[in-house]
């Protein structure tokens, strides 16, 4: 299914990193959580104090909510073109279509690709942000496109330690390595 969802992945260097898990999705994975689903809405977990959509109906999720939310763990917006790895910094990218934010990806610690969690499915590593980009139209969004990168956020490694993200990342990486070692699972 990955090539159906992300046609640009074909022929690139990518790989599945963990089994499917619906306990977390891409936004939580960008914030290094594997026990919750995050979205700026009352039905989801969100950063304490950061604004969320009013009311019960989901509205077009503009990237402002995500920039504001991720600022609570030290990230600052730097535009959409500064995608290269910079020593000492960690980056996350926000994807959006015409109907709002669709996805977030997190740069790996030493810049060797980006980490993405595909909704309820597996998380995977892809080399470039463009590898999972698609059409931005409403029709394409309804058909499952992630659209394009609209914003990149950056924080220093120190912030990652300060907000407890680094220790969580090492712990999760260890758990996933152990899971892969002890469980047989069919990578799609």
């Amino acid at each position: 299914m990955f090539y159906v969802w992300f046609p640009s992945l074909r022929g690139t260097d990518w790989r599945i990193k963990s089994p499917a898990d619906d306990d977390y999705q891409c936004i939580a994975w960008a914030a290094i959580h594997t026990d919750r689903c995050m979205w700026p809405h009352a039905n989801y977990t969100w950063f304490p104090g950061a604004p969320i959509f009013p009311g019960i109906d989901p509205e077009a999720a503009t990237s402002d909510y995500f920039v504001e939310g991720f600022s609570r763990i030290g990230y600052k917006p730097i535009g959409k073109d500064r995608r290269r790895w910079v020593p000492g910094f960690q980056k996350v990218a926000i994807y959006a279509t015409e109907v709002g934010v669709s996805h977030m990806a997190r740069q790996r610690l030493f810049g060797r690709g980006w980490l993405s969690k595909a909704g309820d499915c597996e998380d995977f590593i892809h080399r470039r942000l463009e590898d999972i980009e698609g059409d931005v139209s409403t029709l394409a969004a309804a058909a499952g496109s992630y659209g394009i990168v609209v914003e990149i956020l950056r924080r220093g490694w120190w912030s990652a330690f300060k907000y407890g993200c680094a220790s969580r990342a090492f712990k999760i990486a260890g758990e996933m390595r152990e899971y892969r070692r002890t469980h047989k699972w069919d990578a799609p």
Binding site: M1, W5, C37, W39, Y44, A61, T97, A118, D120, A143
Partner: protein, 152 residues
């Protein structure tokens, strides 16, 4: 096996071909009403009417399609835009109670996140801030709500 009208009873394979039927009819030997009856019978033989899928069958097909095609999405807006989701919401307008039951059962059995559709159709939201974002607890909250609704 379907039979032709009794007065013009012919072996089935002889009136299998519509061209032959037309030729036979054009000779004026057969009254129009009988011809119409033949056409209806031949149609029903060649194009047997499929039984209408039940509400549950329709729901299962749409739910599976929705899960297959939106499993990689995180955005609730995008998931809700999918035509299968919209079709299920449309079914809910006509058969509200039944669709709520189907959604609750599917939520419990297959863990498909129907939270928005349920909130919309039931005009309720049993998810407390403490449960928000935790899949197991959100499912439990809706299942409890469903049980209360049944017992009420």
């Amino acid at each position: 096996m379907i039979s032709p009208p009794p007065s013009y009873r012919v072996p089935f394979n002889e009136w299998e071909n519509p061209v032959e039927i037309r030729e036979f009819c054009e000779e004026g030997q057969v009254p129009q009403t009988d011809v119409d009856e033949w056409v209806v019978q031949v149609d029903s033989l060649w194009f047997p009417k499929q039984p209408e899928p039940s509400l549950e069958e329709r729901f299962r097909i749409l739910a599976q399609q929705w899960a297959n095609e939106t499993g990689h999405l995180s955005s609730p807006n995008q998931k809700m835009l999918h035509p299968s989701y919209q079709a299920i919401l449309g079914m809910g307008q006509e058969h509200r109670e039944e669709v709520i039951d189907l959604l609750l059962r599917d939520l419990a059995e297959n863990r498909r996140p129907w939270f928005w559709a349920l909130s919309y159709l039931a005009q309720a939201n049993p998810i407390t801030p403490a449960d928000a974002g935790r899949m197991d607890r959100m499912i439990d909250a809706w299942v409890r709500w469903g049980n209360k609704r049944k017992n009420a």
